[in-house]
């Protein structure tokens, strides 16, 4: 008998007989009832508490704010996609900026060392945010691959304020994740960190040292 068969057989022929599966009540992880303002406030407070930096912008001035971030952080090489509206708009707006734009729609094998050693920041869109925990959710694509939110020392994420929802559970349920899981789905809540040296927090241990979340509001930001 194969290992698979004998393990399954032992589980099925359980000495104490079949088990009853209890019903689950998920009320405790949903139904927060926050309004947009509360969601944004909570998102910002929580991601801020773990070192995430939040910048507010509008749909019209966000690329200008992005340019300011690049200048302020001396970002010279920025990795970004080419097709998603976020990188498309960013590329258009940064034409005159001195930053060098790095294409990411290349197989990692062809530019691994380049990405690891010479890219200052990665820019990505996000699918949404989670107010309860101050998290971003990303489904990387061929246009915006997995590693650009991980390998460069700074990750800049663009988040639309109306895509922030209450809880992780709400996001999974409302967007039907269970029927269409992508290759990789990610929650990102702050920059990479560790407390492995005597419980002292240090940022940027393997992933980005800094996470900048640029929130785009439909109207004037307050």
């Amino acid at each position: 008998m194969s290992a698979r068969e004998s393990i399954l057989k032992r589980l099925r022929e359980r000495t104490d007989g079949p088990l009853q599966a209890p019903e689950s009540d998920f009320t405790v992880v949903t139904g927060r009832g926050w309004d947009t303002g509360e969601r944004i406030e909570r998102f910002e407070r929580l991601i801020g508490s773990v070192h995430g930096e939040v910048i507010h912008a509008t749909l019209t001035d966000w690329t200008a704010k992005l340019a300011e971030v690049l200048t302020a952080k001396s970002i010279r090489r920025l990795a970004l996609g080419r097709e998603h509206p976020v990188p498309v708009a960013a590329r258009a707006a940064l034409l005159d900026h001195e930053v060098e734009l790095v294409d990411v729609d290349r197989d990692i094998e062809t530019w691994k060392r380049e990405q690891f050693e010479s890219v200052d920041a990665g820019l990505t869109s996000t699918r949404g945010g989670i107010a309860e925990t101050g998290s971003l959710w990303l489904w990387p694509t061929p246009d915006e691959p997995r590693l650009i939110s991980l390998v460069p020392p700074i990750h800049i994420a663009i988040l639309d304020s109306e895509t922030i929802e209450d809880t992780f559970f709400d996001v999974i349920e409302r967007h039907g994740w269970a029927t269409e899981m992508p290759t990789n789905a990610l929650l990102v809540s702050g920059p990479s960190k560790t407390a492995d040296i005597e419980q002292t927090l240090a940022y940027g241990v393997h992933g980005p040292r800094e996470l900048v979340v640029l929130i785009r509001h439909p109207q004037e930001a307050t």
């Binding site: 698979r4 691959p145 290759t183 990479s192 492995d196 419980q199 240090a202 393997h206």
Partner: protein
């Protein structure tokens, strides 16, 4: 730093040594105090009891359907392009992983944190086959540099303080001696980035495996897990068969419980959900993803209604953070892969009670572990059950059951039981024993190591009460 080999058989000696080491005691005390406070603070705005109830219930449902869910997980993983392997024990799992590495001609493996891989001693197995296995979680990396094993399931290097770590890094990697944690972290980052780029295979654990979608979920703060599962061309995930959950919606409550219970964080930096290898057109991620399902004693635990609760564990470490014994003796003292309360109820199944007989009794049964466990495992009850199994008074469902059975002890308790249920004989014998009290031994095993031996009173309480009543009655009449 000298490297010591710890074994569960030598628990008592190791505990003695740890208790006499002020450095170890200070390191653990400080760390555990911090973790307990953080956990308490992070749960303040939550209905913790309801959440724990849900967590327990999700795990119980998964266990109730375990064989079906494992098959469903396998089918969905395979549909997604993830290959699934089954291993009866740690050795078989090691062999599967080694063969997968060899098939690709792999020489180097980079590892994300995985307690199952510790349980099966994967690193040693791979090294013996000429394949280098390097830990990438900072704590695991430090422990590996120091040729040790983790002393905590969440914070592997918690037994070391900053100075000790600085010394280890200086010795093994040539960094400056310093107390600057940022400097040491940056140095480790640089050292490990090279290895992520060159590794042939990434090996990781799994926190939750979702049957419904064939998804592997990994919880982490550092990003080394994402690196391990994205940069090398092959990813092998290894997990115990109990880690499966039924639905994707089962994940958020367990994740909420895990991060808060483990380190008092409202969320970790990354929650990484992997459902397939790199698809055509995608530019990164491994070409091959494998899932190794390891039994290693779990299906045996599964047979027994009471022991089954052990398998609900989500490996948060809260039970050790709150354990007065763990805090004083530290993780290595247990001599087992999983230390602390969860180790005491899990390791006897993996190593047998012959080797681990001292673990279930190394507890005051204070109940703290059971109270904080996010999935409500009745750890103290399980400790009592394992004590019974060890002395042959259980159901015999644990390997090595009865190993502590002592004929004299059994006979002594039997006589005691008989006496205590026969009043006349009881009175007679206590009266005699009271007269002969001078003959009672002054040393009775470990009990008298730190205490004086109990001595029978000259007259029993029974007799005293009787005499008192008589005196009172007589006095009352006058």
């Amino acid at each position: 730093m000298s490297v010591q080999q710890f074994t569960p058989q030598a628990f008592h000696r190791q505990a003695h040594e740890a208790l006499g080491d002020p450095q170890i005691r200070a390191n653990f005390r400080r760390a555990m105090d911090g973790l307990m406070t953080k956990r308490r603070d992070v749960f303040t705005d939550w209905d913790l009891e309801t959440l724990r109830e849900l967590g327990a219930n999700i795990r119980l449902r998964a266990l109730a359907k375990l064989p079906d869910l494992l098959e469903q997980l396998e089918t969905n993983c395979q549909t997604n392009g993830i290959r699934v392997h089954w291993a009866e024990d740690g050795e078989a799992a090691c062999r599967i992983i080694r063969e997968l590495c060899e098939a690709r001609g792999a020489k180097s493996v980079i590892k994300g944190k995985s307690m199952v891989s510790e349980e099966m001693h994967l690193n040693a197995h791979l090294e013996a086959a000429g394949i280098e296995a390097l830990e990438s979680d900072l704590g695991e990396y430090l422990v590996q540099l120091n040729e040790q094993t983790p002393s905590h399931i969440i914070m592997p290097a918690i037994h070391l303080n900053t100075d000790e770590i600085s010394e280890i890094m200086h010795d093994k990697t040539g960094t400056e001696r310093t107390r600057d944690v940022d400097y040491m972290t940056a140095a480790a980052r640089a050292q490990l980035r090279e290895r992520f780029m060159s590794a042939d295979v990434g090996v990781s654990g799994v926190n939750f495996a979702v049957a419904e979608t064939g998804t592997l979920c990994l919880v982490e703060n550092e990003g080394n897990g994402r690196m391990t599962t994205t940069v090398p061309p092959m990813h092998i995930a290894v997990t115990g068969i109990e880690k499966v959950v039924e639905h994707l919606r089962d994940v958020p409550p367990l994740y909420a419980l895990l991060t808060r219970s483990a380190t008092g964080q409202h969320v970790t930096t990354y929650f990484n959900m992997i459902s397939s290898p790199r698809k055509p057109g995608e530019h990164d991620g491994p070409e091959e993803v494998h899932l190794v399902l390891v039994d290693n004693g779990r299906s045996n635990i599964y047979q027994d209604d009471e022991l089954l609760d052990t398998l609900r564990c989500i490996r948060c470490g809260a039970c050790m953070n709150h354990c007065p014994v763990y805090t004083r003796v530290g993780g290595h003292t247990y001599g087992t892969t999983y230390p602390g309360p969860i180790g005491k109820i899990l390791m006897p199944h993996m190593l047998g009670l012959e080797a681990t007989k001292d673990l279930p009794s190394a507890s005051s049964l204070c109940g703290a572990c059971g109270e904080v466990c996010p999935v409500k495992i009745p750890i103290p009850d399980l400790l009592v059950r394992l004590r019974k199994e060890a002395v042959g008074e259980g159901r015999g469902n644990v390997p090595g059951a009865g190993v502590k059975r002592n004929r004299k002890e059994v006979a002594a308790w039997k006589s005691w039981q008989w006496l205590a249920t026969h009043p006349a004989a009881w009175r007679g014998s206590t009266a005699v024993a009271g007269k002969l009290r001078g003959l009672a031994p002054s040393r009775v095993g470990p009990w008298t190591e730190y205490r004086s031996a109990p001595k029978l009173a000259k007259t029993s309480l029974h007799a005293l009460v009787k005499a008192h009543r008589r005196a009172k009655d007589e006095g009352g009449e006058s």
